[in-house]
Amino acid sequence: MAYHKITLTINGEPEQVDVPSNMTLLKMLRERLGKTGTKNGCAAGECGACTVMVNGEPVNSCMILAVECDGSEIVTVEGLSDHGSLAPIQEAIMESGGVQCGFCTPGILIASQALLNRNPNPSEAEIREALVGNLCRCTGYVRIIEAVQAAAQMV
């Protein structure tokens, strides 16, 4: 199998990685770069736990090859906070109680941040639509949606 040398930035830091063709972005983040905040819940594009931003847009990192990300800017949950100061969406979800087991949380945070980036004042229906690809088995979603609404108010 062919290997590819790719360069990209992860949370603002430049990285160079040698990846096999079949390595997904998810696998590279978790197994090559130690960015284990991004989770694997299905490896099939269904659960959203692996959501990261590629060039500002959220994608399922299990559904994109690492080699396809050559030259891209990636933001993972680890990159949402800035030197220990948390993003409003992180503060808001802690405050609302939208975190239980926390396994869906990284993907939810990225998808929510991406929503707020493109739509600073989303309606409840827009929030629900934007997060429909992020399964959460614990919370019933109520407090997650509250958190996005609260974060919109903060910024």
């Binding site: 062919a2 696998k27 099939a44 559904m63 994109i64 429909v132």
Partner: protein, 297 residues
């Protein structure tokens, strides 16, 4: 029984520099190479062990595949690599091709639509493909680059069976073209899944309509169904009924019945054929009624 692989099986990722190179590679490796666009069908099938390609040939970035252009004199051209979200966010698509924008927004999730493409949806040729109906009804055609050069494939004759199309080894679709919409065109996509959104369709109903003086009723209304036949199904009788007779509650019911009669769904894990047939009627009726309202009944 599904024994999915924990990761993707081995393959080589190929990034050709030109269309000619892509076509040549795909033709030389017929049966073991596949064009890669968003990958959202490919990666699922490969992990499940259904597809065993040795090469994935990335078509993103090849000539013309990354652009979406609306030309008021010609219509819309959507590059094969343009992700769905870019399509539905395009102001001219919303304005002139509402059925397509509507259908796109009902595919999977926002994240997935940042990867999934309409051309991928079409080439995958699943009966459940949500965006195909709109492309068919809007008179879409594909620009194809093959080993013998470029050609056009009208969608009307593109689908041959589930997963099977008029594409030949070496073919790369570069874009989808939709002609200028008729004046006053409205459109809608109704999708029924098990969940309220994000599911694959149990059934999908695309309807478009526009005023047409040549039709006896004064309207031309067309309907296509997803997930009810081996290929995406345009129900010609619906157009005929609603063109020939005045559009009323009765003729809409008649057209909806024709939609039901035209489909040949199967029982699968998502729904029974019986339910699908009835939903073909009920949702067709709903969608047709809404289009009629939009046309200003």
């Amino acid at each position: 029984m599904l024994e999915a692989h924990p990761g993707l099986p081995e393959f080589d990722y190929i990034k050709p520099k030109t269309l000619a190179e892509a076509s040549r590679f795909l033709a030389d490796h017929a049966g073991e190479a596949r064009p890669l666009s968003g990958g959202t069908d490919i990666f699922v099938r490969m992990r499940d062990g259904v597809w065993k390609d040795k090469y994935l040939v990335d078509i993103k970035g090849l000539d013309g595949t990354d652009e979406i252009v609306y030309d008021p004199s010609k219509g819309l051209t959507i590059g094969a690599a343009v992700a769905m979200n870019r399509v539905s966010a395009h102001p001219d698509v919303k304005k002139h091709y509402a059925a397509l924008a509507d259908a796109v927004d009902k595919v999977a999730s926002y994240q997935l639509r940042n990867r999934a493409t309409i051309v991928g949806n079409i080439c995958n040729a699943s009966p459940a493909g949500d965006t195909i109906g709109a492309c068919l009804l809007l008179g879409g055609a594909l620009d194809v680059h093959g080993v013998d050069g470029a050609r056009t494939e009208p969608l009307a004759s593109f689908f041959e069976g589930p997963g099977s199309t008029a594409l030949k080894p070496g073919d790369v679709v570069t874009s989808l073209r939709l002609p200028l919409p008729p004046k006053g065109l409205v459109g809608r996509y109704y999708k029924l899944g098990r969940n309220k959104s994000s599911d694959l369709s149990i059934i999908g109903v695309t309807v478009v309509g526009f005023p047409d003086k040549r039709a006896a009723s004064g309207y031309r209304i067309k309907l296509a169904l997803a997930s009810v036949a081996p290929t995406p199904l345009v129900v010609a009788q619906v157009e005929e009924i609603l063109a020939a007779k005045p559009v009323t509650e009765q003729t809409i019911a008649e057209a909806a019945q024709a939609a039901m009669d035209a489909c040949t769904p199967i029982d699968d894990v998502r729904a029974s054929a019986r339910y699908r047939k009835m939903m073909a009627r009920n949702l067709s009726q709903k969608a047709l009624t809404e289009i009629w309202n939009q046309l200003g009944r």
